[in-house]
């Protein structure tokens, strides 16, 4: 499965700046991670008592694709995201990444399958710096055990240094390079959101699932977010955006899925979805 | 053997009272206070002081002990709970109640001394009554009355209904105009009253001893965990089970391993049925 579908020329040219060339050579990762191809959710259903929050919803997220998941409040999009990431157990259905079935995998195992996520309300470690927070994502690829770390053996120190370099580059990449040493509880809303994205990227994921990333951002910040997400696609990462902000979704997504009351009502390209009468009815009210 | 059973029932009644006190405080604050056991200690010491040392009439001692319990309950709320609940750190109240418990225990130890002192006779009775000695049936009868009183309070009085409302959904209660702060303070006063009366009644069983607090905090908690957090019936059953278990085990195997047996019971329940016998499976554990 190829990871780079043909797409319009990316907004930023890759090799233009010398720093990029130098940067990419500096941190070849110690352990090459294989990039996954597809995250396939089939017929996911989740009930809370008698309420069916998610009703047999299927969705495929490909590497190198931006997939939007929209729907009015209460449509089940956040619940669906929580099913994908393991915060809720599915009642019915399967979640598969390439050949691996992760339907029963607990939350902390999902990163192992290349899945990263951000949260609607950013979950950061306020007492640590921006850089430290981003480095947390490196845990997935840190192999040093407790004793190794306690004795500061070479591998532990090397891994720490590599995670630091990677996190710093990613933070510069999302635009937080000037506040690496700021304590996370002093960040404003947009900075928190971008930090969470950087942390997710430090995990070297194949798929990153963004939970209402545009919420609370200014027009300018949403523009920056869009550029970042498009760049992620160019790099072969699969992005799922759960979003309320339909303009943003229709602008950058390759495919869009719409939910209402837990069921999928339309799936297709942004144009197809945007012009679908059922979607219009649901969003603009009856 | 009969003595062991009666002793078990009596001490079990005391544990049940502690578990009830936990429930009352937890219902309005979602806090399990380390000071719970110390309410009983304070009232026992005050009662012994008033009657034993100051030679005041039993009635005065009773009201004094009950008042001491109420005051200590209120102090717990104002000092250790109120300010702390405003901050989001959920472990902070554990530290504050732990600190307050230490202060009161050590303070009483400094004033009263660290040796257990005998609690005076409340009703004229010689010491040959065996299993009919008041040190057994006083706590049993008192706790039975207290439990009935508590149930009547919750079900028959307006205040009680407000309590239940606050315990089930504090946010909604506040939206309806209930002063949740005051309700919480009153519930701590009620727990103090409960502990004050029960501690006074059980004084002849436990002696007036400064270190009683911590032991009762732990054993009352075990009774609570066995019976189920939030259930008053569970508190009583849990207390009786714990009391009988330790008493009978002491009878057969000697008293050296009382605490170990009690904790063994706790661990068994926490592993097998963590919500307790009567607890709600969905109860959010503290």
């Amino acid at each position: 499965m190829t990871s780079n579908p043909t797409s319009p020329a990316p907004r930023a040219t890759l090799a233009a700046s010398p720093s990029a060339i130098g940067a990419s050579a500096a941190h070849r990762p110690a352990r090459e991670t294989t990039r996954r191809g597809e995250l396939v959710a089939t017929g996911l259903t989740r009930r809370f008592g008698s309420v069916v929050a998610v009703d047999s919803v299927s969705l495929t997220l490909k590497a190198g694709e931006i997939h939007g998941l929209i729907g009015p409040n209460g449509s089940g999009k956040t619940t669906f995201l929580n099913l994908l990431t393991g915060y809720y157990k599915v009642d019915e259905g399967r979640i598969v990444v390439d050949a691996d079935d992760l339907t029963a995998a607990p939350v902390q195992r999902r990163p192992h399958f290349g899945i990263a996520r951000t949260f609607q309300k950013p979950r950061l470690l306020g007492s640590l710096t921006v850089l430290d927070n981003a480095m947390l994502g490196g845990w997935e690829h840190a192999q040093s055990g407790f004793l190794e770390t306690a004795l500061a053996l070479p591998r532990a120190r090397r891994e720490d240094r590599q995670q630091r370099e990677l996190a710093a580059e990613l933070l510069h990449g999302v635009g937080l390079g000037n506040i690496l040493t700021r304590r996370a509880n002093l960040l404003d809303h947009a900075e928190q959101r971008f930090l969470e994205i950087a942390r997710g990227l430090t995990m070297r994921p194949s798929f990153i699932l963004l939970d209402e990333p545009a919420g609370g951002l200014t027009e300018h910040e949403i523009e920056q977010l869009a550029r970042i997400v498009v760049q992620l696609r160019e790099c072969g990462v699969g992005v799922l955006i759960v979003e309320h902000h339909t303009d943003f979704v229709f602008r950058i997504c390759d495919r869009v899925t719409t939910l209402n009351l837990g069921k999928m009502i339309k799936h297709g390209t942004p144009d197809e979805v945007r012009n679908d009468p059922e979607v219009i009815r649901v969003y603009l009210g009856a | 053997m009969l003595t062991a059973l009666i002793t078990g029932l009596a001490i079990g009644a005391l544990y049940a009272a502690a578990a009830l006190a936990y429930n009352v405080m937890y219902s309005t604050s979602k806090v399990l206070s380390v000071t719970t056991g110390h309410i009983f200690m304070v009232s026992g010491v005050v009662g012994a002081y008033l009657i034993g040392e100051l030679k005041l009439p039993t009635v005065v001692g009773f009201f004094g002990a009950a008042a001491a319990g109420v005051v200590f309950g209120l102090i717990t709320e104002f000092v250790a709970i109120r300010r702390v609940l405003a901050r989001s750190d959920e472990h902070l109240w554990l530290l504050s109640t732990l600190a307050l418990a230490t202060i009161i225990q050590q303070g009483v130890g400094l004033w009263w001394g660290t040796e257990p002192k005998p609690f005076p006779r409340l009703i004229p009775q010689d010491f040959t009554a065996g299993i009919w000695d008041q040190k057994f049936w006083l706590p049993i009868a008192t706790v039975a009355v207290l439990m009935v009183g508590l149930e009547l309070f919750y079900r028959r009085t307006l205040f009680g209904k407000i309590f239940i409302a606050v315990s089930e959904d504090a946010f909604a209660a506040r939206a309806r105009g209930v002063a949740t702060d005051r309700v919480r303070a009153i519930s701590y006063a009620i727990a103090g009253l409960l502990g004050g009366i029960a501690g006074f009644a059980a004084g002849q069983l436990t002696y007036a001893y400064f270190a009683l607090g911590l032991s009762l905090t732990l054993n009352g908690f075990i009774a609570l965990a066995v019976g189920g957090l939030g259930s008053n019936m569970g508190a009583v059953v849990g207390g009786i089970v714990l009391g009988l278990l330790t008493s009978i085990a002491t009878f057969y195997f000697g008293g050296a391993y009382q605490q170990t047996i009690a904790v063994g019971l706790l661990m068994t329940f926490l592993l097998v049925k963590p919500e307790g016998l009567f607890g709600d499976k969905r109860t959010r554990h503290v």
Partner: protein
């Protein structure tokens, strides 16, 4: 950076002063006190990872201290073991006990876990009293000293200092490398921790086991220093004291709890009225700290500094550098 070099210099001077303490101390009692602080710190350093970094409220660690003391004494006196080997064996036993205690307890929520650790320390007391053929029961047990070259009070002081320095270095490493961030994530946001793949339970168990080892080693040294211990020596309040040192010192740091241990151990010695108050003072101090400076006094300096000189946080417009972003992510094809 000047402040960094300044701090290094202070540290160096402090270390030299510490190493030469027996020579400039006024009387042997001060050496005894310093050794005691060192032994306490060995336990607190390990417990710091558990409480200050991972956020677990273990208030019963005194039980592990007791196990270390008694195991050491029994191995040397009843079985003729070499004291150094016995100390390491005691550490191993402490680790096993920490593991066994942690296994069922670490899954429990905060209050339940705290109660479980408190119950553990009470069980240890019961056990020590009851098994009097092994432990001497209420009468207690004599704890032997070490062999050459650490067989004098000064020698014990240096042994404790060496081990304390080593343990401090271990915990410092853990705190500043990847494990440190993972532990803080467990403390402050287990949602974030799970989202990045941190295995919550096994990290807690490993750190807790480590703290059992350090506590038991501290117990061996502590017992040797006191030369005679009883179950009363390991009353619950002592476990509370260790816990308070960390909370007051400040979480998420090594220096804070270290200073906390030093100050809180030495204070009752220096200020006589406080000695009479004893635990009452510690409880009152804990309450004050929790109500006024919950982050701990160690972090108070940071907080005060930020209040006095509020750095104007320049509001930069977020400007992504897509080239660096792309380079960092890399462009790898799928398997």
């Amino acid at each position: 950076m000047n402040s960094h070099q300044g701090r290094l210099a202070v540290l160096l001077v402090g270390l030299v002063a510490l190493a030469t303490l027996p020579f400039w101390a006024h009387d042997p009692y001060q050496v005894h006190l310093a050794t005691l602080i060192g032994a306490y710190w060995i336990l607190v350093a390990g417990l710091n990872l558990v409480v200050g970094y991972t956020g677990l409220l273990s208030i019963g660690h005194v039980g592990l201290l007791a196990i270390g003391s008694y195991a050491f004494a029994i191995l040397v006196d009843h079985h003729g073991a070499n004291p150094y080997v016995a100390m390491l064996a005691a550490g191993a036993i402490g680790g096993v006990c920490g593991f066994i205690l942690g296994l069922p307890s670490l899954r429990l929520p905060g209050f339940y876990f705290a109660m479980a650790t408190m119950a553990f320390s009470m069980i240890v007391s019961e056990f020590l009293l009851a098994q009097d053929s092994l432990t001497g029961g209420g009468a207690g047990i004599a704890v032997p000293g070490f062999n050459k070259p650490f067989d004098t009070p000064n020698g014990l002081f240096w042994l404790v200092m060496l081990i304390a320095a080593f343990v401090t270095w271990l915990t410092w490493n853990v705190s500043r490398l990847m494990w440190g961030r993972a532990m803080i994530a467990l403390r402050d946001s287990d949602v974030a921790a799970a989202a990045v793949g941190v295995p919550v339970f096994s990290i807690k168990l490993i750190v807790y086991t480590f703290s059992g080892v350090t506590a038991a080693v501290a117990g061996a040294l502590f017992g040797s220093l006191q030369s005679y211990v009883t179950p009363e020596t390991f009353h619950f309040e002592l476990g509370l004291f260790f816990f308070i040192c960390i909370v007051i010192g400040g979480r998420g740091a090594i220096i804070g709890p270290l200073l906390g241990t030093i100050v809180l151990t030495a204070l009752p010695e220096v200020v006589a009225p406080l000695a009479k108050l004893g635990q009452f003072f510690y409880g009152a101090l804990l309450l004050l700290v929790v109500l006024l400076v919950p982050e701990g006094i160690g972090n108070l300096v940071k907080i005060v500094r930020e209040k006095i000189r509020p750095r104007r946080l320049e509001k930069h417009v977020v400007a992504p550098d897509l080239a660096r972003l792309a380079a960092a992510i890399g462009n790898r094809s799928a398997s």
